[in-house]
């Protein structure tokens, strides 16, 4: 099903207006982060600090461009994901011990510490950040009119790959531990599985996904700044995850797309009160669709 939509996108892509391509690309980037959050959420953990990895991925991608002259989009995403995964691995030792609100707030604290560090680093532009040069695909620089489309296609490809990987993971024994951990950790331990290990692994995967998303976003926007590590950015990701629901690996991307659209609509329709519009939209979604958007699809499927 995922492959089908990818094929559809590839076919329809060139006919989309450029600004729409941009929005879809960003949706893929955010969707990746949300995918990671989905994994964590299934284990009952809410991370308020995914922005940490998103930002790390972005800066890593920017750094290899700035200091090593690398501009290949896939390498950027790979480096972003790897750096983020490494950091997640280290931090996981600390974080895997916590649950509930403490997990959330500790992850937030770590994300804000990165923010503070980046703001202090004038070599990286402090709060102004710096720009990333346009990306190349396998060494080829696409002609100006095709840039948006090629970035979109790369994004779609990587996102689909990640979605498939996560989908497979969820069917492995470790992947299936998540809802069990959410429900009753002690029983999990009695059964001989390590809850801590599962959480650690999940955290690393989520971190890697967020890192890839960050690198992608950085390339698409062309600019990186410490705001990417701020708690409000994490808030956006959580918004998207809840919006989408945890029903399927495709859900986060749909949610991200919807979020991006609502955000832009709010800016356009009510430039003086867009926050209110956004807040109202979110509130209505929470009240009427507590299982997220995906539940609409499943509800329909069940009835038919």
């Amino acid at each position: 099903m995922v492959l089908a939509s990818l094929a559809l996108l590839a076919a329809a892509g060139p006919w989309l207006p450029q600004w729409a391509m941009f929005i879809v690309t960003i949706a893929f980037a955010r969707g990746l982060v949300a995918l990671g959050l989905l994994l964590l959420l299934r284990a009952g953990l809410v991370s308020f600090g995914q922005a940490l990895f998103y930002c790390l991925g972005a800066y890593a991608a920017g750094a290899i461009g700035r200091f090593f002259g690398v501009s290949d989009i896939f390498i950027e995403m790979l480096v972003g994901g790897t750096v983020a995964a490494l950091v997640a691995f280290v931090l996981g030792f600390l974080l895997a011990r916590y649950r509930g609100i403490f997990f959330g707030l500790l992850s937030l604290a770590l994300s804000m510490i990165l923010y503070g560090l980046l703001v202090k680093t004038e070599a990286l532009g402090s709060t102004d950040g710096f720009n990333i040069a346009p990306s190349t695909l396998f060494g080829v620089r696409p002609p100006p009119d095709w840039v948006r489309y090629s970035v979109l296609l790369s994004a779609a490809a990587v996102a689909s790959l990640c979605a498939l990987v996560v989908h497979r993971y969820l069917h492995t024994p470790m992947g299936r531990l998540a809802p069990a951990i959410k429900d009753n950790e002690i029983r999990v331990e009695y059964m001989g599985a390590s809850a801590r290990k599962a959480v650690h692994v999940t955290y690393v995967i989520a971190g890697a996904l967020a890192g890839i998303g960050g690198a992608l976003a950085a390339t698409a926007v062309g600019h990186i700044d410490p705001d990417m590590a701020y708690w409000t950015t994490s808030g956006e990701f959580i918004f998207i995850t809840i919006l989408a629901g945890t029903g399927s690996v495709a859900a986060p991307f749909v949610g991200a797309l919807l979020y991006g659209s609502i955000h832009t609509l709010a800016y356009g329709l009510s430039p003086n009160t867009w926050q209110m519009s956004l807040g109202l939209a979110l509130l209505m979604l929470i009240v009427f669709l507590p299982e997220g958007l995906w539940s609409l699809a499943t509800r329909h499927a069940r009835h038919s």
Partner: protein, 423 residues
């Protein structure tokens, strides 16, 4: 989208009433802060200035050479976007402005981070974009652009001007200290000032550099640290809420009496805090704006009209927006004339704007550096004096443009380090 269209059309209709021209309107995208803490000191005054100027231009009421209606006879239509939100959001909205709303050009951006992010996108989309306020010199130092312009001087000018003023007003200065917000603007402002002071007074002592978080709001600890350090001069690039909080918290504690305090963007506080600012505080307006604006016909028109319409004083953000629009108008009309009266392309307007010199409510604007894309202007600083309940500035010193801006092709930091000499 329909709602937005109606608003824009209404705005255009109101502005167009007197104009009889059947020419296609010129759509200007205006981007500035409509929400958040930057709205009050920059965004809203700038938007008001834009509203006022566009209205006047459409009615053909501006003084020559800006007398033609709209841009070369074509009525102006304003599309406004809020600058609040992350750079990702801003880049998204810029692309929307250009590709979905099809604006003819964009004037905007206060935040340096946004300017840096938008510049390459403007080049990519080949849309003439005029930054009216953001301060970082990096834009034209890091890269060259064809479509990006800035009709206001960079923040370097504020710091260098401040250093020169300190040397003039308090020649025996031996020590300085800083109180700046801990982000790029504050760091750069302090960095430039410190560098400039070290160049002007080689053995100057830096007592302390306080860098509280942006929007911290509470500065008692920092004020205590400054009071105990007892520097001769204190430099601060605080703006709006933070600036006003600082004045309200430091004034009663006598900080401004103990040290000569320079507030490089202090002009915005003048109008609201007036009597709360202790005498002798040095205020900057990021250029010859506000109380430092010349008494030329453009200022009379702009200042008088603005106060008449909004019942409040225009601050430097308003001036910057006004001169940004006027500059583009002049370039547009020049290009149109050169194009045989036909609507000019962005490239033609850009070519006309390059290296242009023009007059505005703040005085002369010379697009002299950044390969003709970056403006330089003179600057001025003065000290406050409360006279008869009204806040005025005395001891005003002006510094010509070439003395406070780096020359073409030279990075600001290098220029300061090299003793302000042209290469």
């Amino acid at each position: 989208m329909d709602g937005m269209k109606h608003v824009v059309l209404a705005l255009a209709a109101a502005a167009l009433a007197p104009a009889a021209a059947a020419q296609e309107p010129v759509k200007i995208g205006i981007v500035t802060f409509l929400s958040g803490p930057a709205a009050a000191p920059f965004g809203v005054p700038a938007r008001n200035a834009a509203d006022f100027v566009i209205e006047e231009l459409n009615a053909g009421k501006a003084p020559a050479p800006y007398g033609k209606k709209g841009f070369g006879g074509s009525p102006l239509e304003m599309v406004i976007v809020d600058e609040a939100g992350s750079t990702t959001t801003q880049v998204t909205e810029f692309r929307n402005l250009v590709q979905r709303q099809n604006v003819d050009l964009v004037v905007g951006y206060v935040s340096s981070g946004n300017c840096l992010a938008i510049a390459p996108v403007a080049e990519e989309l080949k849309k003439l974009t005029n930054f009216f306020d953001c301060g970082t010199p990096r834009i034209f130092e890091d890269a060259s652009y064809k479509y990006v312009f800035r009709t206001s001087p960079t923040a370097t000018m504020d710091s260098v001007g401040a250093a020169l003023y300190v040397k003039d007003a308090k020649p025996g200065t031996k020590s300085i200290a800083g109180l700046n917000q801990n982000y790029a603007w504050g760091q750069d402002s302090w960095g430039d000032f410190e560098l400039a002071m070290k160049t002007l007074v080689p053995n100057i002592e830096v007592k302390t550099s306080q860098m509280p978080k942006l929007f911290a709001g509470q500065y008692n600890a920092e004020i205590s640290a400054l009071l105990s350090a007892k520097p001769d001069v204190i430099h601060s690039s605080f703006w709006d809420g933070d600036l006003e909080a600082l004045i309200l918290q430091a004034g009663p504690r006598g900080l401004m009496k103990q040290s000569l305090t320079i507030l490089t963007t202090g002009e915005t506080a003048m109008h609201k805090l007036g009597s709360q600012i202790p005498d002798g505080t040095v205020l900057g307006a990021r250029g010859p704006f506000g109380p430092y604006a010349p008494a030329n016909q453009y200022n009379k028109w702009f200042h008088g009209g603005f106060v008449g319409k909004y019942k409040s004083e225009p601050n430097y953000a308003s001036y910057q927006m006004a001169q940004a629009i006027l500059g583009v108008k002049l370039a547009w009309e020049k290009a149109q004339d050169a194009n045989g009266g036909k609507r000019p392309s962005n490239e033609q307007v850009g070519a006309a704007l390059e290296n242009m010199s023009y007059e505005g409510p703040g005085g002369t604007v010379k697009m002299a550096i950044g390969k003709g894309h970056q403006a330089i202007m003179e600057t001025a600083y003065g000290q406050t004096r409360l006279a008869g309940g009204k806040l005025t500035v005395v001891n005003v010193k002006r510094y010509p443009a070439e003395k406070v801006n780096p020359p073409e092709g030279m990075k600001a930091a290098d220029w300061i380090k090299g003793g302000f000499k042209a290469q």
